[in-house]
Each structure stands twice: as C-alpha cells, then as structure tokens.
C-alpha cells in the first residue's frame, strides 16, 4: 500500500469540504437535531427517573459515531460514482485497499468533527460531559468507528456491483443494526432468542459497556474485548466481501457502468 495514493484520495474529498457549507451541514445537522430533541426529552424524563437517563445522551452521541463512520466510506464512494470519476481512479495505479483506506480516513475525519461538535453542545446545553465516561471511552469509540467502516465497506461493494439502485443502503444499512445494538436499552430487554444475535454485533458491547461505566464506574474489559474481537471478524468479512465483489465487477466490466 502506498500512502501517497491514500493521501491523494483523501485530499480529493477534503477539497469538497473546503467551500461547501452544504457538506458541513450534513456532518452537523442530524447529530445536532437529534441532540436537541433527545436532550430536551432527557431533561424532561430526568424529573421523574433517576439520573442515569443521561445515558440516552451518551448513546445518542455514540450511535452517531457509528453512523458517521459508515457514511464517510459510503458517501466518499458515491461522490466518485456521481461525478463519473470511478474509472479515472481505477485506471490509475490505485489499489482497492488504498481507496478503502482513504475512505475510512475520511469517515474518521467526519466522525471526529461531528462528535466534537455534539459533545461540546451536550456539555453547553445539558451539562452532560461525555468525558465523564472516562478514558475507557476512547477504545469503545474506536470500536464504533471500526464497525462503521465494516458496514461502509459492505455497502460500497454492493453499490459497486448493483449500481445506484443500491444507493439507499448508504443511508439505511446502519439503522438495520440499531434495534439489536442495545443503543437506548440494555440487551436484556430483547426477547431471549434475539439476545445471542444482538451479542454478535460489536456495537452492542460498546453500549452495554457504556451503561456499565455509568452504572457502577467499573471498566468493562469483557465488553471491550468482545467488541474488538467481533470487529476484527466484521472487518475481515467486509474486506473479503469487497474483494470478491470487485473481482465480479472486473469480470463483468461494471466499473465503466456503475454511474449509469
């Protein structure tokens, strides 16, 4: 892998943000709207329930990390499709892994910017300090980013194979995992038969871990290890899937047609 090519693709997408208020809006808009709506609901509920309803705010910010990370990859790819630039890139000496790495970095950049903004506003408006979750938050955040990458890589592969008609996946696939990721409620709330499925999702362990920290202040090492191991598997499967699809695309000559 050549980092100068990864840097080339990263800067190509960074240029887009330099003078596009609409793209900055896309990073901030939904996280902030969610933060305000759920934030005020949380304040209201706090009068009646114990303070741990603040976990809602934490969950909200963390869920957005997963979503932004996936979006970073999918939108980076779709930008190339929309601008009919994909063939230019792949007739250059660019390896798929380099393209994906640049997309993942772009996802990380989007996550960093939007999380910092959300965390700052949560502190200003609701006195919710995300850092109260401690330094243990960082590896959990990285796990959410990694899961977002895995979903983003799968989404990209499907769009590459089936074209823009599969574009809806870029906006919705992450939400498929939301009901079983224990984002706003513990995994024990789910029916017994669904709980093993939920525990096979890396994000579930992140959100379970977050609740553990807020509940008893102990470091959820078990949850962290489970999330990391599952993400290793998810990423390996996602990359294998992408390369398998990329082979099909080269067999069928779809690189030239993917934007049609």
């Amino acid at each position: 892998m050549k980092w100068y090519r990864v840097w080339a693709i990263f800067t190509r997408h960074f240029y887009l943000y330099k003078r596009s208020p609409a793209r900055w809006m896309a990073i901030f808009y939904w996280p902030l709207i969610d933060l305000f709506v759920w934030g005020f609901i949380t304040i209201y509920l706090q009068q009646y329930l114990s303070s741990f309803v603040m976990a809602f705010l934490g969950a909200l910010i963390l869920w957005d990390i997963l979503f932004r990370s996936q979006q970073g990859i999918s939108i980076t790819f779709l930008e190339e499709v929309w601008s009919r630039n994909l063939l230019n890139l792949f007739v250059a000496p660019l390896r798929p892994i380099e393209f994906l790495t640049a997309s993942m970095l772009m996802g990380f950049f989007m996550v960093t910017v939007s999380t910092l903004a959300s965390a700052l506003l949560a502190w200003l408006f609701y006195s919710f300090n995300l850092l109260t979750l401690g330094l243990s938050l960082l590896p959990f955040i990285l796990n959410l980013v990694a899961m977002g990458w895995a979903i983003g890589v799968v989404t990209t592969a499907i769009i590459l194979r089936y074209g823009q008609k599969a574009e809806v996946l870029a906006w919705g696939l992450t939400f498929f995992f939301q009901p079983i990721s224990a984002v706003f409620y513990p995994v024990e709330v789910l029916p017994a038969w669904l709980q093993p499925v939920a525990r096979a999702v890396p994000a579930t362990h992140v959100f379970q871990g977050m609740r553990q920290v807020m509940r008893d202040g102990t470091f959820p090492l078990g949850e962290l290890l489970a999330a990391t191991a599952l993400n290793g598997i998810y990423l390996a499967v996602a990359f294998a899937f992408f390369y398998w699809i990329f082979g099909q695309v080269k067999e069928l000559g779809l690189l030239m047609k993917v934007g049609e």
């Binding site: 050549k2 100068y4 090519r5 840097w7 080339a8 693709i9 800067t11 190509r12 240029y15 887009l16 596009s20 930008e79 190339e80 601008s83 009919r84 630039n85 063939l87 230019n88 890139l89 792949f90 007739v91 250059a92 000496p93 660019l94 390896r95 080269k250 067999e251 069928l252 000559g253 690189l255 030239m256």
Partner: protein, 260 residues
C-alpha cells in the same frame, strides 16, 4: 515536454524500452452467450499511433477496458511495455494513461484541485510544477480556479486530457477524445498528440467516430466488426483493400452491408 519522474518509475520501468508497446494475443471476452471480442490479436509498436474503429458494438470499448485492466478477458493475454498486464498491472499503469469523453472529473473541484489529486495519485515527484505544465499545454491556466460546474463540456474534456498527460505516459489510450471539442481545440489536440508522439515516442491507441481524424492522425488502423478484426493496416492500404475513397465510406460499407 520534460520527462516526468514518478516516485516509483525507476523501480518499475523496463531497462530497455520494448519495441512492441502493446500486444494482445487471442483476446476473447464473452458475456454469457454473447461474444463481445473474438480471438483478437494485434501488436502496436512503440511510438505508433493506432486507431481502433468499427461500428457500435464492434468491441472497441471492451478491448480498451481489457487493455486498462478494468475488465478481465475470458481468454488470451495482454502485454504492455513488455510486461504481462495480469501480473504487473500497477507497474504498467504508472506509465499509461487514459481519457474518454464518457468519463468525467469531479465538477465540485477546481481544475487545479482535480489535476493535483491525480498528480498525487500517480506519485509525481513535483506535482505542482507538473500540474502547471499540463494546464499551460491545454490552455487551462485561466481556468485553474474555476470549478468543474463552471466549465463547458469542451473545457471539461480538456481537463480530462490534461489529466491523461500528467504522468507523461509512454502509452496513451484515448476514447473519442475530441468528440466534444470545437474544431480549433480539436485541431490543437491532434497536433499535440502528434508532437507528443514525435518528441516522447508515446504510443497512442485511439478510438474516434471522426473518420477524417483517423486518416489524418493514425499510422495504422484496426477495423473491428462484431468483435473481430476485419482489417489492420495503414489507412491507405485498408482503403485500397476495400476499394473505397475514404474511411467514412468504408465505415458505412461495413456498418450497413456487413462487409468483412
């Protein structure tokens, strides 16, 4: 034009420039029951300008895609600059470039930004200087800060052509490069292609539906019909073989009467 040193050029360039720049041997591509390219073999000498022509569906784009490695042949093999494409695609692509009327560039980026992305992607040692040089070559200096949206189709085509010259390619694949250019710029582009060949020994494989342009520019033509080569020689010799006055008449004869 000054030679361009890419970061990896020293490591990948064959020590002796091969006399045959492009070689296709028994190249076949099937899509299900359809045979798009049927046992096509040809050689293009270094520094030669060869036109690939034929009616729609003759197999021109399929052959170009296979030569660029974005489409896998069903059988047969390709050697470019003495290297086997299947095994050395990345090394080959450092010394090759491509431009097509049907492929665009991101219009949200400025002309300079677009070219800088590709200069980085090809790992050019002095990307800024090289971008300035190709902008001058294609009379794009005044448009350096213009976004792609502000450009006419012809201007965007010039940006794509400038991209194709960035790495000072030893082999250039051009798919109808002058289709959207006005006569003045089209003429300048043809002159530039001739100069590039004369000064740098660049090998050019060219498709166009402008038959006059093909006669004027090409040392040889490869005439395709239904995935097979029906003629491969100098334009004069091909016309003599079919008893036609010009390539336009020959094209109509093949397309309408299926003469092979």
């Amino acid at each position: 034009m000054q030679p361009v040193n890419t970061i990896e050029e020293q490591a990948i360039a064959p020590t002796i420039a091969p006399a045959i720049a492009v070689e296709a041997v028994e190249l076949t591509k099937r899509f299900g029951d359809t045979v798009a390219v049927d046992h096509v073999s040809f050689q293009i000498a270094a520094g030669e300008v060869v036109g690939l022509l034929g009616p729609n569906g003759a197999g021109k784009t399929t052959i170009l895609q296979m030569l660029l490695g974005t489409l896998l042949p069903t059988s047969g093999h390709i050697r470019i600059l003495g290297l086997d494409l299947a095994r050395h695609r990345e090394a080959i692509l450092h010394q090759v470039n491509f431009s097509s009327t049907y492929v665009s560039m991101p219009t949200s980026l400025t002309v300079r930004e677009n070219l800088m992305v590709f200069a980085r992607l090809y790992g050019l040692a002095r990307p800024k200087e090289r971008v300035e040089a190709v902008m001058k070559l294609f009379e794009l200096e005044a448009l350096r800060s213009a976004s792609g949206r502000a450009l006419s189709t012809g201007q965007l085509t010039r940006v794509c052509l400038a991209k194709a010259f960035l790495n000072d390619p030893r082999v250039l694949f051009l798919d109808e490069p002058t289709a959207s250019l006005d006569p003045d710029i089209a003429d300048k582009t043809r002159r530039l292609l001739r100069e590039t060949r004369d000064h740098n020994g660049t090998t050019i494989l060219y498709t166009s539906h402008n038959m006059q342009e093909m006669e004027e520019l090409c040392d040889r033509i490869i005439f395709l019909h239904k995935g097979r080569i029906i003629a491969m020689d100098t334009p004069k010799a091909v016309l003599a073989k079919y008893g036609q006055a010009n390539l336009e008449e020959l094209f109509l004869l093949v397309a309408r009467q299926g003469v092979t």
